[in-house]
Symmetry: C2
DNA sequence: TTCATATTTCAATAATTATCGAATTAAAGT
DNA sequence: ACTTTAATTCGATAATTATTGAAATATGAA
């Protein structure tokens, strides 16, 4: 991943409503959640939510599918993982000083 | 970590010059680098760099120490790790769907 | 003390981003 | 066809953020 892509992804997540939104959808899983339900759950106006959904979708963090009048949004996990990979590789000290960067939580089971 | 802290950390990294700056310092290691050298290396004006250093420092991503006229900046790895931990725990699907979130790059050696 | 260097601070400006209300599109039910 | 519901788009406004030039602080050297 190039640095510009990482900046875009970080920027998409660097906002309270959007991070809450993404967390919610991760929790909800691959089936996703309809826009209206998300708006209600997060307590944001439908048009404001639409703006944030677009923001996250445009960087690839969300996928959507239409079902009748409803549009379901779900996380694209591989994009999130590529960001995590970028950050661990480029912004952790593993490459230079093995001990500086402690094992991330996801490696607990190792 | 609370969501607000995560948003602040993400926001601090969600900017081209700052992400490049943080990467550079991670590469440079715990001894850090003087502000002037960083500015020259990144090709940004000293006062602009100062602004970005402050931004990163204020969220805890950078530590600094003064040596004579020079101020050396270095990453605070544990803060970065706590962000990575937050993201893997809250924004990856491991908790719900074990397979959705692939093993991050940092776990290669496991 | 005086001068040069390293860095930060300040004020102004430009650019980007978030929120709101109103209007619009589009699908489904009557 | 008409109405309701789901969601987005648009335009305006407010708020935040980045960049620049000039001035200030502070350390070390002559």
């Amino acid at each position: 991943m190039k640095i510009d892509a990482a900046v875009s992804l970080l920027g998409a997540l660097a906002q309270g409503s959007r991070l809450a939104l993404f967390r919610l959808l991760v929790q909800k899983g691959p089936d996703g959640m309809a826009a209206g339900d998300i708006a209600e759950r997060l307590g944001v106006a439908p048009n404001t939510l639409s703006f944030h959904l677009k923001e996250l979708s445009s960087v690839g963090l969300l996928k959507s599918r239409q079902e009748g009048r409803f549009i379901y949004y779900a996380p694209d996990f591989k994009v999130m993982n590529s960001l995590l990979a970028y950050l661990t590789e480029n912004c952790c000290a593993e490459s230079t000083t093995a001990t500086e960067c402690s094992t991330p939580a996801s490696c607990k089971e190792c």
